[in-house]
Subunit: 217 residues, 2 copies
């Protein structure tokens, strides 16, 4: 009985990892759609979000069943509740990728990101995508050191977002209001994606070490 | 033993309601700071967020204790897990109020909201604040009809946000890039606050009726 139980627990962790990889792909494709003005790719990200939502529901239902049938205590209970929170964060991250894809779709056939900001937005997007991948790795391997790396990456994201805002507000900015609003919101979406990756990392550190993080978002 | 248990369960619900009211106050004060350029009020919202974070932790810890000691099944277990999610949403809503207060602080002594947009932003802020109050009421009274009202309010929020974006992007907009970015982000913060209120309402409907909502964010 306990072996079946631990098998079910491991299956939930595996599904969380797979979901994190699906979110990483959505982030990657949304960025591709954004930077190359690829409307078909944007549509695919938007359409495929339903599968992420569906997966979230399945993981939640199986977690509740496990909780109700097995009455886990202490560590296992905290792990299952942490899993419920991570799955909610991953679904939210999928929504943010959809927001990015929708900006690409709205501006098609134009590109939403003007040439002057292409490199910085690209770097911010790539760092975010890496962080989502790191979150998947952290869930899979429960590696506290890797989880802590996310904090350093997040500082880079914050610096890039500030740099983008400075460009938009400088006297040199001749791009007008519409791209400025697009870019400000895009910066926010990537920042939130990165925040969720950090939050997943902090939950993991707390589960493994018992060190309550200063703030889990 | 069971009576003590239900007393503890009710105490957690009471604390959730109190936390929702604290978030409603934070939203109200952040809006006041924003619309009247009141730096002291903005500082208070930012400082008082620590108490919201602290309250979240307390509610979480007590929920875990209750889960571990009482081994609740079925309905009670789902209610406690829903409570854990609601408390996380409420804390996040407090963070969004802080973001609004920080825009007010950043632009002080100027007002971040230009006169042309004052009324629409004010209406959006008031609707959001009401929705947070409704979420508190929904948690307290488990009233499905009131919870469903939040969906209608949310449609109004979406319309107001679109109207604000149209103003920013119209040829008449002479406010420049900086206020446009501020307002676009503020619109996003209020929209997310409202989304969380809707999400709390949907969780409640699901708990009471068993009707799985199309999407709980």
């Amino acid at each position: 009985m306990r072996d079946l139980y631990h098998g079910q627990l491991e299956a939930i962790v595996d599904d969380l990892v797979a979901l994190a990889h699906a979110v990483q792909r959505a982030t990657h494709d949304a960025t591709g759609a954004l930077l190359t003005a690829d409307a078909a790719l944007a549509e695919r990200v938007i359409a495929e979000d339903a599968a992420i939502d569906q997966k979230r529901e399945e993981i939640e239902e199986r977690t509740f069943e496990l909780m109700a049938l097995q009455q886990p205590v202490a560590t296992d209970l905290r792990m299952l509740v942490a899993g419920l929170r991570m799955v909610a964060e991953l679904e939210r991250m999928g929504d943010l990728a959809v927001h990015i894809a929708k900006v690409a779709r709205m501006r098609y056939p134009d590109r939403a990101v003007p040439p002057a900001l292409h490199d910085t937005v690209c770097e911010m997007a790539e760092t975010t995508e890496e962080m989502v991948g790191t979150a998947a790795e952290v869930i899979e391997n429960r590696d506290v050191e890797v989880a802590r790396r996310l904090e350093v990456d997040d500082e880079r994201i914050d610096r890039m977002r500030r740099s983008i805002l400075e460009t938009l507000l400088s006297d040199d900015w001749a791009g007008g209001v519409e791209p400025a609003i697009d870019i400000a919101l895009l910066g926010r979406y990537y920042e939130r994606l990165a925040d969720h990756a950090v939050s997943i990392g902090r939950r993991l550190v707390y589960l493994v070490t018992g060190d309550k993080p200063a703030h889990v978002g």
